[in-house]
């Protein structure tokens, strides 16, 4: 299976070289998506000769990852794995995700909660939020996803082409799970351990978290009720 790691990076100048090095050492093809960073992310990538898609405007995590899916589709990759540029994800957990895809899953999610794993499991409040979203997804799609906000995910060719057509822009993870299930794709989870971010800030800020919960819940509800297939 031809595999691509998509590394979205927004103002990750301090981490990106280290993350890219770990990925390259593990022997995967990868592409850094520079999401209109205002720091030296692009310069650092050029300096280390990293393959980079340079988005001239900041599109948010959804737009950046979708650009990666489009790149994977254009270049004939069988699988792509979203792998964050902030050092939260561990390269050692990529193979289990790929195994799931090989066994027929279309979307393999690296979950912090499927087993009692050690490592970074988020703050208490955030875990409640994750539970809530998990409940929403279960209610509207009938599937229990333990870690719907996880950005550590592998996509099969079918998921890639779906997400190229239709991927939400700002907080894409939970919503895109519902899209995938709604389009009859198989969604599976594998246990992973995540680290606390090395630098940078989460795309989910403290003040915006209520907005986040409302928006994502609403998106999940609208999406499942309308059952619109692959738009945009």
């Amino acid at each position: 299976m031809k595999t691509l790691l998509i590394i979205p990076a927004y103002n990750e100048a301090r981490n990106i070289a280290g993350v890219a090095q770990a990925v390259a050492e593990a022997g995967y093809d990868f592409i850094v998506i520079n999401d209109g960073s205002t720091d030296d992310t692009l310069e650092v990538c050029r300096e280390h000769d990293l393959p980079v898609l340079d988005l001239k405007q900041n599109l948010g995590i959804g737009g950046a990852v979708q650009a990666g899916h489009k790149y994977a589709l254009e270049n004939g990759y069988d699988v792509d794995v979203q792998f964050d540029g902030d050092g939260q994800h561990d390269i050692r957990y990529v193979p289990p995700l790929l195994d799931l895809i090989e066994q027929g899953a279309d979307l393999a999610i690296g979950s912090r909660f499927v087993e009692r794993t050690e490592g970074f499991r988020s703050s208490f409040m955030r875990r409640i939020g994750i539970r809530w979203l998990s409940g929403c997804i279960c209610l509207f799609s009938g599937r229990r996803i333990t870690d719907p906000t996880s950005g550590f995910r592998a996509c099969s060719k079918r998921s890639i082409s779906l997400f190229c057509r239709n991927y939400p822009t700002d907080y894409p993870e939970p919503e895109s799970i519902v899209t995938a299930i709604g389009n009859g794709l198989s969604v599976q989870e594998a246990p992973v351990i995540m680290h606390e971010r090395v630098g940078g800030a989460s795309s989910i800020r403290a003040l915006g978290s209520i907005y986040y919960m409302v928006k994502v819940s609403l998106a999940i509800a609208i999406m499942s009720l309308s059952r619109s297939k692959g738009m945009k």
Partner: protein, 120 residues
């Protein structure tokens, strides 16, 4: 007819508004298709000021206590519709910009790899 001054004032304001909208279109600052809603609104107001009787009839028939309430209600509804259409236009444009930015980055990347192939 009572309220003649008011009606004349409304007509003048609407004509000025129409002129301002047309001017924006002529100067290329406003696309004709987006000006149509506003022009319709202005023309409808002028018609209502010229022939107010149907307005009173409708207002009474629908059970509004005063015709002015009916006018406020209709105006508010019109404005809401215009606002919603603006949000729709903005969303459509956001999607288009996103697609363009992604497309541009992909093309740049392809160009880069072609150039590095040529250099070898």
């Amino acid at each position: 007819m009572e309220g003649l001054t008011l009606r004349i004032a409304i007509i003048i304001v609407c004509i000025v508004f129409l002129a301002a909208v047309s001017r924006q279109v002529a100067h290329g600052k406003l696309l004709l298709k987006y000006s149509l809603l506003w022009m319709t609104l202005a023309v409808a107001s002028i018609v209502a000021a010229l022939f107010p009787d149907p307005l009173f009839t409708i207002s009474n028939a629908l059970g509004f206590e005063a015709p002015s309430n009916f006018i406020f209600f209709t105006a508010l509804f019109f404005l809401l519709a215009i606002c919603l259409s603006l949000s729709i236009i903005v969303s459509k444009q956001a999607t288009r910009i996103k697609n363009l930015v992604q497309q541009e980055a992909l093309i740049e990347k392809r160009l880069e790899s072609l150039e590095s192939k040529d250099a070898r």
